[in-house]
């Protein structure tokens, strides 16, 4: 159907997903350096080699005019890679479903004989609750999207708001199992019981070692964010009395204003956010 080159270091070539891809459609060639590819050209090039700023031209002989270039980048140099010709960038921990997702998308493009659009990004990472206890939380993928002009600065700030909400909920309510009502109880210095108890639980490995998993992606004008925690999850209380001066519980309102879809799975341990902008050229 199509020819796929998987070009990378030993660890990359021995990844679980390579076997799955090799067993799928398309003629798959594995190589650990450009020398090994001889004079072949490929429809899709999937690489994790450190590439110069112009990755597509450095792979020039290997690519056909409309090759799709997929780059796996640990260090999040996404903007430079996309500007240099990468159509898809995967960053962070790549799992089989990520590699399959991007290759299926690339094959679809090839099948339709369309020219690949740059700027399909996916990033996956995880961390302990105690490693990033407080914000502000940043998502490098959003900076990259702004950098390659897929979203405006204002759109980025709204998505960042939504990201911070779900990460905070995953840590505070999911991993640390804190109840928001503690925010209402202040000591004489105005310090709330929530902050005090949060500090205590972060230092307790039973709570603090729990992990938060993040998967963020942008493809064909749609931003998708999935956050999962190892704690008890967080389901917003939709029956909270709508007091205008309520100190907590506004996160869901904000999420629903900013995102098109907010879906909770598994008793709130996993939340999925989607925002559609429509495809940009």
């Amino acid at each position: 159907m199509g020819s796929i080159l998987i070009l990378g270091d030993q660890q990359f070539l021995e990844s679980d997903w390579v076997d799955e891809i090799s067993a799928g459609e398309g003629r798959v060639t594995l190589a650990s350096s450009l020398d090994q590819t001889r004079s072949d050209t490929f429809d899709i090039i999937f690489t994790n080699l450190s590439l110069p700023t112009e990755p597509l031209s450095s792979l020039g002989e290997l690519s056909k005019r409309d090759s799709v270039l997929v780059v796996a980048e640990k260090h999040l140099n996404i903007v430079e890679l996309v500007k240099g010709g990468a159509h898809y960038v995967l960053s962070g921990n790549i799992e089989p479903q990520d590699a399959k997702w991007v290759l299926e998308s690339a094959l679809r493009i090839k099948r339709k004989k369309q020219f690949p659009q740059p700027g399909t990004l996916k990033s996956r990472f995880d961390f302990n609750a105690s490693a990033q206890p407080t914000g502000p939380y940043h998502l490098a993928l959003l900076d990259s999207l702004e950098g390659i002009k897929q979203i405006t600065r204002e759109e980025k700030m709204k998505l960042l708001l939504a990201y911070q909400e779900v990460i905070t909920n995953a840590i505070d309510h999911g991993c640390l199992e804190l109840d928001s009502r503690l925010k209402e109880f202040l000591n004489f210095e105005g310090v709330d019981a929530f902050s005090v108890e949060k500090k205590r639980r972060l230092a307790d490995p039973y709570f603090g070692d729990r992990r938060v998993f993040v998967e963020a992606s942008f493809s064909e004008g749609t931003f998708s964010l999935v956050v999962e925690d190892e704690g008890r999850g967080f389901l917003p209380n939709i029956y909270l009395k709508l007091e205008p001066d309520r100190v907590y519980g506004r996160g869901l309102e904000l999420l629903q204003c900013v995102m098109d879809e907010v879906i909770f799975h598994n008793h709130g341990r996993k939340v999925e956010l989607t925002k559609r902008y429509g495809a940009k050229i």
Partner: protein, 104 residues
């Protein structure tokens, strides 16, 4: 970025100039401390100047509302300097513009 906010008393009002974003613990703590400076001096009309704030999330809003409630419990008032941009939009989304009067 300094994690202290400047405070000032002009006439019968106390002012807090918020520097940077209100989206995390350092800024929340700075707001609490600046608020305490004025509150402990007996100020019961306090104005927040958020013109330097780019991002405010539900955490920051919670801290603002904690200040509001502490003043309200002593028949005080929390006000804001005229809002703009993203902060104004967020306040309006959550209908807080109805709760906190503007100090023109």
């Amino acid at each position: 970025m300094s994690n202290e906010f400047d405070t000032e008393i002009l006439g019968d009002k106390g002012y807090i100039k918020v520097n940077g974003d209100l989206d995390s613990e350092p800024s929340g703590e700075a707001l609490r401390q600046a608020f305490n400076v004025l509150f402990d001096k007996g100020q019961r009309t306090i104005v927040l100047d958020l013109s330097g704030v780019q991002i405010i999330n539900s955490y920051g809003i919670g801290k603002v509302l904690t200040c509001y409630k502490r003043l309200k419990s002593e028949n005080g008032v929390l006000m804001v300097k005229p809002l703009q941009g993203f902060v104004k939009e967020t306040f309006e989304l959550l209908m807080l513009d109805k709760l906190l009067p503007t100090d023109e």
